[in-house]
Amino acid sequence: MKYLLRKVMLYVFIAWAALTMNFLIPRLMPGDPVALLVERLSGRIDPAAMDAIAESYGLTDAPLHVQYWDYLTSLAAGDLGLSIGFFPVPVSEIVLGALPWTIGLVGITTVISFLIGTGLGVVLAWRRGSRTDHLLPALTFLNAVPYFWMALILVLILSVNLGWFPVSHAYEPGLVPGWDWEFISSVLYHGILPAITIILASFAGWVLSMRNMTVTVLGEDYVTMAEAKGLPKRMVLVNYAARNAILPSVTGFALSLGAVVGGSMLTEVIFNYPGVGYTLFEAVQNQDFPLMQGLFLIISLAVIAANLVADVVYVFLDPRTRQEG
């Protein structure tokens, strides 16, 4: 359990680092962006909003460490400040409204894409040298396709030309959100195209890394021994090769997840999907700094949490991490 404890400590530190970055970025960016913003906005928005901005960005005379302390205490109270674009709605309220959409869309599609990708990667590794190798260049291409471009193409073909799916939004505009079938079915229907986009754009990466890892593992003695034992192919492949080859995929989860999250955010923008990515896009366009920062923070924390989950899974997969002492 020492392994897990060390990991938890690392993530706590990373979370702290993300909080601190969030605090420092607006204060240390060259060109004093906040002062410029205040200048630009003065007279155009509510004076109360101006005060709120000035306060949350340290346009006060308080020294940095006092500001930092204030920042941490208000964070601890769940206070992320007030949005400028939607003044005076608290940032936390907007963030909490956007989060379920993203977790639903990106969470589910990431899991599906990981499962499809690793499964296919194992199969391609086993059949290496056969005709399935010709799939590799296509997968490499798919892996390099930008998410948002994939979304544009799919919209063009499946929505505009064929009319199978709606072009944007998470549900039929005008519906009142609630746990009724009409709303849920509308959410599912609107979710299909964004989900297909994210899966298509991300699964090839898992395939390629899993294939390479499995090919490497297939040369190990334990796989040869499993084969010599007369075990059926499937057993050799799953219990011996894949079971070992998946370990680096799980430890490398952080790196892959970053790319998926980034790409999914752009996908949300294209579909006007009311998740975290789309909201962040809006916040940047409105120069809604408090909202921008609140969203950055929540995305970072969610990714850190996902990494922690991956590490817990890793402990189950690799007995060596369970060693005492």
């Binding site: 960016m29 930008p146 390479n212 021994m225 057993m235």
Partner: protein, 627 residues
């Protein structure tokens, strides 16, 4: 200088390089091909591709082709600049951390972890959101800041492993300065990783720039592939079906990314040779076509003769040995093979006749096993000696059908004589009746039934042969589940426990994982697993080489005791001839794929006939290893 040597052999790398060069040329010279300015609007609005506008026009009448080629400059430029900056940071952080260790490494490791976990795109968006003026250089710089961590981690691991290698140790011992070691010893060896990290950074940066510009966060006064997509999206080009506007930039990004990734495949294959060995094992155990048909007839004939004359030791007349393989130089093979009849009580169980295994190379074919015939009898211990590369492993792998491509059996036969009915097996014949099996002709399914039930293997290093992620018990259990499908779970576990005790290991270790066992214990577990189906033959591939001397002796004694109890035959491979002389009934010595001496152990010891064996024994005597 030979130019053809500059062209990489791998088709993937070649395709990747062509793509990369194409885009570089496009960025450099593309703008010369068009007379339009990328920003200038015209009167022809939203026109599809035509002779005057090769890629059509935008909503404001701008020429898409002009935008595309000028955009290539910006996108590639940002990719290169960001890739270079990011890779410099990765190398500094990774190599310094990995080489100098200590506190600086700890700090750099944590810093890397922070930038690895905190998602890049949101950070990038926030950072550029605050940038007062967004020139392409500052965008490239910000992209570099958010993207160095992955490559730094890989380089750190590589540096840590390099610093333990002999040549680095040697450089340190001769008192070279640390900077010099880092630059002249570590960096050149980490070069493939640095190159591949750089290519990934470039792909990442091109994608990131496209993403940012697409969100309107790049420099919108500069035309890049990303900003083209931004304007296409905000003009809702896809609703008008204006595919010519947004298809080219996205397609270019994807093709460029794929091209760089293909080059990376080549780099991966260069540093990890296993990815290079094209084909999987198990399919081409034998050449197909008419030749294979001839082989199975030969096998059947050998099998038939085995049935006809059970019990008589086959007479060895090896007239094939003297003939020189056409493609291989014959020096050193002048001395004739020295073969003596084997006088062992048991019936033959495995007969290898004139076996040939080839490795087709680029220039020439290597005969890894060249016309070898040996016979293993029931209960016999056959010692197979020879240095590495002599073909002894290829021979045993041919017997167990574990040859890897490109190895090919090109001649001869291997016959297995099964005499007793197996418990639980579906293919039980009546006890006592003989059955000869052409091993090379078995189908995959038949082969599975024969494996482990008839022939089990103990590998050289149990450390690598046991599956690290499942328990010892599970590794007994899967064999039993497959080969004894009717055995209830409780019996299977009881059997695993019994087998562990037989090799002197506490039966509670059944729930242990391999990493919880010592090296000697792991090898015993491997032996116990080999015995669980009570096979007639066990192939031991240098089973004690990885163990220290004392443990070696214990394990060996255990094997001998178990042999007396179960009566299995052993093919024991090792380069340690003194060990073989002690345990074997008969000895086969191989050199360069050929059997050079074969006979009863005592006779070979007392009177070695082949010069190679004589030299080996003489050197052993010199070392005092023989008494």
């Amino acid at each position: 200088m030979n130019l053809s040597r500059l062209v990489p052999a791998s088709g993937k790398v070649r395709a990747g390089l062509i793509i990369a060069i194409f885009f570089v040329l496009l960025a450099a010279f593309g703008p010369l091909l068009t007379s339009y300015s990328p920003q200038a609007s015209g009167t022809e609005l939203l026109q599809p591709p035509s002779g005057t506008h090769w890629l059509g026009t935008t909503q404001t009448g701008q020429d898409v082709f002009a935008q595309f080629v000028y955009g290539a400059r910006v996108s590639l430029g940002v990719g290169l600049v960001a890739g270079i900056i990011s890779q410099i940071v990765s190398v500094l952080v990774g190599v310094i951390g990995g080489y100098f260790r200590g506190l600086s490494d700890d700090l750099l490791y944590i810093l890397t972890a922070v930038f690895l976990v905190v998602p890049g795109m949101p950070l990038l968006i926030v950072l550029t959101g605050y940038l007062p003026s967004r020139g392409m250089v500052s965008v490239a710089f910000v992209i570099a800041i958010t993207s160095w961590a992955g490559s730094a981690r890989v380089l750190r691991a590589q540096t840590m492993s390099l610093r333990r290698r002999e040549f680095v140790e040697a450089a340190r011992a001769t008192g070279e300065s640390r900077t010099r070691i880092v630059f002249s010893e570590i960096m050149p060896n980490a070069l493939p990783l640095i190159a591949s990290g750089f290519l990934f950074s470039v792909i990442g940066a091109v994608l990131a720039e496209a993403g940012l510009s697409f969100l309107g966060l790049g420099s919108l006064t500069t035309t890049s592939w990303g900003s083209m997509l931004y304007f296409a999206q905000s003009a809702q080009a896809f609703l008008y079906g204006a595919w010519w506007w947004f298809v080219p930039p996205g397609l270019a990004i994807a093709v460029l990314g794929a091209g760089l990734a293909l080059i990376n495949f080549g780099i991966d294959e260069y540093s990890n040779p296993r990815l290079r060995t094209g084909k999987s094992r198990g399919r081409a155990t034998r050449t197909s076509g008419p030749h294979a048909a001839a082989l199975s007839t030969a096998g059947a004939a050998a099998a038939a003769s085995g049935v006809d004359a059970p019990g008589t030791a086959p007479v060895l007349h090896e007239d094939g040995v003297g003939e020189v393989a056409g493609t291989e130089p014959s020096e050193g093979a002048a001395a004739a093979a020295q073969l003596r009849p084997i006088d062992v009580a048991g019936e033959p169980i495995i007969e290898v006749r004139n076996l040939k295994v080839d490795y087709p190379g680029i220039d020439r074919v290597v005969h890894a096993v060249d016309d070898v015939s040996i016979t293993l009898h029931r209960g016999e211990i056959l010692g197979l000696a020879g240095e590495s590369g002599s073909g002894k492993s290829t021979l045993t792998n041919a017997i167990t059908r574990l040859l890897r491509n490109p190895a090919q059996v090109t001649g001869g036969s291997i016959t297995y004589h099964r005499t007793r009915a197996r418990p639980g097996g579906s293919r039980g014949t009546d006890p006592g009746s003989a059955e000869s099996i052409d091993l090379l002709g078995l189908s995959t399914e038949e082969l599975r039934g024969y494996r482990w039930d008839e022939i089990a293997i103990v590998f050289q290093s149990a450390m690598n042969a046991l599956n690290a992620v499942t328990s010892v018990g599970a590794q007994f259990d899967d064999v039993l589940r497959v080969h004894r499908p009717t055995m209830p779970a409780r019996e299977r576990e009881a059997l695993a426990r019994t087998m562990l005790e037989k090799v002197g290991i506490d039966s509670d270790r059944v729930s242990s994982y391999p990493h919880e066992l010592s090296g000697g214990m792991k090898q015993r577990v491997a032996i116990a697993i080999a015995l669980v189906l009570e096979p007639d033959v066990i192939i031991m591939d240098e089973p004690t080489t990885a163990l220290d001397l004392l443990i070696q002796r214990e394990v060996l004694d255990q094997v001998m005791a178990l042999r007396d109890e179960y009566g299995f035959a052993i093919i024991f491979t090792t380069h340690d001839l003194s060990l073989l002389l002690e345990v074997s009934d008969s000895i086969a010595v191989m050199q360069r794929g050929r059997l050079v001496e074969y006979g009863p152990a005592l006779e070979v010891y007392a009177e070695p006939r082949h010069p190679y064996t004589q030299a080996l024994l003489a050197s052993l005597a010199d070392m005092g290893a023989l008494v």
